[in-house]
Amino acid sequence: MKNKILSVKNLKKCFHDKKTEIKALEDISFDIYDKEFVSIVGPSGCGKSTILSILSGLEKQSDGEFKFSKDVTIGYMLQDDSLFFWRTILENCLIGLEITGKLNEESKNYVIQLLQTYGLGDFMNKYPSSLSGGMRQRVALIRTLAIKPDILLLDEAMSALDYQSRLAISDDIYKIIKNEGKTAIMVTHDIAEAISMSDRVIVISKRPGTVKSIYDIELSNKSTPINNRKCKEFSLYYDKIWRDLDVHI
């Protein structure tokens, strides 16, 4: 039996402004298991990113609760890489360790090793401005991994990239996450991206967000995200999720 690492129960979130109160999340419940890759998809504005904000502690839920099975470290990766332009790639990747006070020779070497393993060794002492969008996103992932998180939260992490880089970096990021044996929750609006990368896909309804359905993605010859797109089951899942999203323009 798989180990449950996170359980979310009846999460609710309201946002307030002067005129109105916006109900972003109505009732969200799901469980996440160790080393699982789970995607959350939903129409834009359904509050899917808010779920990650709450899990990471950036926002407080209005009601409901979530519980991690143990004391976990969370790595949060956003759409915008937010690399500091005044720091080198290596220095950028060390920021998390600096903030959490865990920077020492050993942890630094771990980060250097990550950079080397994932093809960024030559760029360690360069500044972010000399990197392409896809590489910057890879640096952002390594920055997230530097603090050895148990759970990765990816919020539209690839959405700012052009289509080709996006496919390539999805493959990269997927491999890195699997290699390092991490649990990941990814929020995306891209159905294909969700199916190709995930073990499970959670579909959120439009605002106020509720869990509409959860799919176990079982592909006949599951490998890397790019290859997964060629599996015959892929389009079946795509159709189901598309129907669930109930898109009207």
């Binding site: 990471s56 502690g57 950036l58 969370i74 949060y76 956003l78 915008d80 937010s82 500091f84 332009f85 005044w86 720091r87 920021i95 998390g96 600096e98 903030i99 959490t100 500044y127 401005s129 603090i147």
Partner: protein, 266 residues
């Protein structure tokens, strides 16, 4: 050099040529201006008593230099500018940090800051003399009034317009306010601060000269005031010329500092 293609050589030549043209015309303008001025006054086409002449300015400068007062006046003015510049910078940075870390304070004092910044501070000149006394203190005070508020506003607005993504990133790592400031706000605002200092130093120069015109017994502002009172236009114009040179040099120095900081950060 030989590795460059012909086209690239042409391109370099074009740049060099342009630079020569720019330098040439820059000198030409000042030369025509000086010669024209000298000739007009030499042939009495303008009243030299009212408008002086380059040769008279030069000889006034020499005599000021000879009796040692030239550097004394320049020194006093520079000292006052530097002192008020340092005070205004420190106040500007400290207040900006307080406003940034306590948004409620910033909200409360916002209208007062705006009023104080837009108020023509010269209007306070007579009051300052009465309150602070006719001394170097009033000059510094005047300069600070003129420079501090704009410095605060510039640095603070740099702080609050820092990329939100950087801050979210640090908050997701559970960073505290001090860490957010030292790791993100401060380093990402080097350029803002340099720009604020540029404005700050020229504001202080304005403030100091204004203060000297009002109260002082030495400094370039005093020379201008004294010269006009005894109708020594040569002295007035000489002081203005020195002032122009000084303000250009100050700008030049800050510009160099900016280049150094920029190089360090890219």
């Amino acid at each position: 050099m030989s590795t460059y293609s012909l086209e690239h050589k042409e391109y370099l030549k074009k740049i060099r040529k342009e630079k020569i043209v720019v330098t040439f015309f820059r000198f030409l303008i000042i030369l025509i201006f000086l010669i024209g001025w000298e000739l007009l006054s030499h042939f009495k086409l303008i009243n030299t008593f009212l408008s002086s002449s380059p040769s008279k300015v030069f000889s006034t400068m020499l005599s000021l230099f000879a009796d040692g007062s030239l550097f004394r006046h320049i020194g006093i003015t520079l000292y006052e500018v530097l002192l008020s510049f340092i005070i205004a910078t420190v106040i500007g940075i400290v207040v900006s940090i307080i406003l940034w870390s306590r948004p409620i304070i910033s909200k409360i004092i916002d209208p007062y800051l705006t009023i104080l910044n837009s108020l023509p501070k010269v209007a306070l000149g007579p009051l300052i003399i009465i309150w602070v006394g006719a001394s170097i203190n009033s000059i510094i005070f005047m300069a600070l009034l003129i420079s501090t508020f704009i410095t605060i506003i510039n640095i603070y607005s740099g702080f609050i317009s820092t990329d939100k993504g950087y801050i979210t990133l640090l908050r997701s790592l559970k960073a505290n306010k001090r860490q957010i400031f030292t790791k993100v706000i401060w380093p990402s605002n080097y350029m803002t601060i340099i720009n604020a200092l540029k404005i700050n130093i020229s504001m202080n120069l304005i403030g100091v000269i204004m203060g000297e015109l009002l109260v002082s017994k030495s400094g370039l502002g005093y020379l201008i005031m004294y010269g006009s009172q005894v109708f020594n236009i040569d002295l007035v114009i000489t002081s203005v010329v020195i002032l122009a040179i000084i303000s250009y040099l100050m700008y030049f120095i800050i510009d160099k500092i900016e280049v150094i900081v920029l190089n360090k950060n890219s």
